[in-house]
Subunit: 214 residues, 4 copies
């Protein structure tokens, strides 16, 4: 791994652990055992590191969520989506802890972020529509759209919400799975009669995940 990548990953790690505000560029350099000058050789300022982390985030997001064209969704796909979502939120949790500040300081980042959100909104709507087509869910277009937004909201907000409830902000995997359960609970009234058993299976699966050594 090149120094530039090491800087990105170490920064991400430190930001997640202690918050972007408390981590100075010197901290990052020290953690890596490089000089601050070297850090600034690779990045012209701290904001650029954050932008690179954001790019990483976008890349992972796109690879996980871009819907595969006209594909019938199976149960497996759904769990994949949910797992991938929370994986993502977990990996970039510092961003969600301070999104407002982060974006306020960097117009370029803000624009990128908001474009991404629009895309995401589309994808999640697409997924919900596919789930309806596959007769997992039922509901009119408006309801499905609103439901898609709810799911997107839960995914985006869960970690921040949970971290705040926990001493030291330390979140555990089981706590993450409770977020998946929250999504299931929100979808539940819209599950079709014929897919009730599928709902039960999913629910039981994630209850188990959420119970592990909590």
């Amino acid at each position: 791994m090149k120094t530039k990548d090491k800087i990105i990953h170490t920064s991400l790690k430190l930001f997640n652990e202690r918050g972007e505000r408390q981590i100075t560029t010197n901290h990052i350099a020290a953690e890596l055992g490089i000089s601050p000058g070297n850090l600034y050789y690779h990045f012209s300022n701290k904001q650029e590191i954050i932008r690179s982390i954001f790019d990483l985030y976008v890349a992972q997001l796109e690879s996980s969520f871009r819907p595969h064209a006209d594909q019938r969704l199976s149960l497996e796909h759904l769990t994949q989506y949910l797992d991938a979502s929370f994986e993502l939120m977990w990996r970039f949790r510092f961003m969600y802890a301070n999104l407002l500040e982060l974006l306020a300081r960097d117009a370029e980042l803000e624009q990128k972020y908001q474009a991404l959100q629009l895309e995401l909104a589309n994808w999640s709507r697409d997924i919900l529509f596919q789930l309806r087509e596959s007769r997992f869910l039922s509901g009119d277009d408006a309801t499905m759209a609103e439901l898609a937004d709810s799911v997107k909201f839960i995914i985006g907000a869960w970690i921040g919400y949970q971290s705040a409830q926990l001493k030291g902000g330390e979140i555990t995997k089981p706590r993450l799975y409770q977020g998946v359960l929250k999504i299931l609970f929100t979808l539940r009234p819209y599950f079709t009669d014929e897919s009730q058993n599928i709902y039960q299976d999913l629910h039981q699966h994630y209850v188990k995940c959420a119970e592990r050594s909590e």
Copy 2:
């Protein structure tokens, strides 16, 4: 209003407008037209101002949500609760937007916050149970409890989520009312048949609020 209170309210205003991180103690003093020394006469450091704002928040929250014993809920009560949620989110939006950082930096605040959350969880469950008794909602105990948690989650997480979607990061009242709509949408499947018209009234009311000058 005493200087001490002026400091609290001016700080809250500035924090909401421009973010806690960008507002220095000198900014606050300058905005008030007092000397920095005077500010430090009333508060021994910046963190203490934040704590006082938090106390204000707790006070408003308690006065809005502490359930009145064995009370039959009317439509008015429901709007009161929803409006109160909205008011809180709006008035203390910087806190919602920066919660994790604020708690990470101040163990005392974290403890207070988490104690408050436990209380809030009880209150919101009580309110949901009351709504069921008043035949607005229906569902078994577990469902009502989960629903209560969903509502609490939406209130607690809405600003962090929304503020990041907005150009310039500015949170507007209409966007907040969309949070109220999100709550309604989440409750919707559990509204009883006899209260469907009530749901409609509420929905229309808040749709209007959310549309204003958006």
Copy 3:
């Protein structure tokens, strides 16, 4: 006791306990339960409090040391002098911890202090000469004068020296009596043959004092 006197004595106490530098005028007022404004009603600045403490010191010093004219010194007188000296050093120990800074900041105080030192030098020389006349000690004038200066030096420096050796700077009475023993040791070679037993008595007396619960 009037407020003015209370301020002086409380300041002396706090200065001794924690050092003049660390004690602000607000600390003094708080300890007394009065307002800072009131403190400044009685003293126009912090330095004036210090000057008043110094006046107290001078008064106690003069009452203890001004030699009684043409009086033959007995053993009792000597012990009285020594005991009084250390009592004094103990009571005003903060002054000795920072004499240089104290005087550097206040020309008036410096002048007073130096005048006092000259007087003291005379008194201690007078006492030594009287002791020689009383045949306790022997030695030529120059030796007696130098010896007087040594005694004065030990008295003035002992507490500061001892405090520095002890954890937390806390000095005990037994440690003070070791200072008296140091004076005796310095005088010892000049005790006359006929007063050797007197030396022994004194020595034993202060050894006992110095041993108590050390």
Copy 4:
């Protein structure tokens, strides 16, 4: 000389000249023509500068006084010791003048200082015993030990005592040499008959030093 060392030496100079309390970190930086940030690049706070000066002091003290095993002492050695004492007092006079405040503010420094004092006590006793073996001095073990303590006391306390006697608080070299003379005076009764001339030589030498431009 590196910047770090320059900071130490400039601080020492300024502290000696005007007192540690009056010298701010900005003063030090300005005197050196560097930025305050640079000073804090080399030292994390003012106290650390003081600690480094203390380390310098310890180093010089050790190199001057650590006794050479089974060595016969000549007159030269004696003057070396006395001159070294004088040099130490002069070079680190601000420390001697402010010892109690310095130690009161810094527990780590206090511990180091007190450990050093124990070592010093041993060294000074060793030196005195060597002087007796070399027939400069005579006296039983207890007397030599007490004498060693007296010498240590004079070195440790002289500046605090003398600095306060002087107009303007300025410590001058001649005044310090009087401290050496005070040591000699204290040792005098214990010089052997055969080394009386050595005493005379030493005395005359330091009288001359003490008289220069007093």
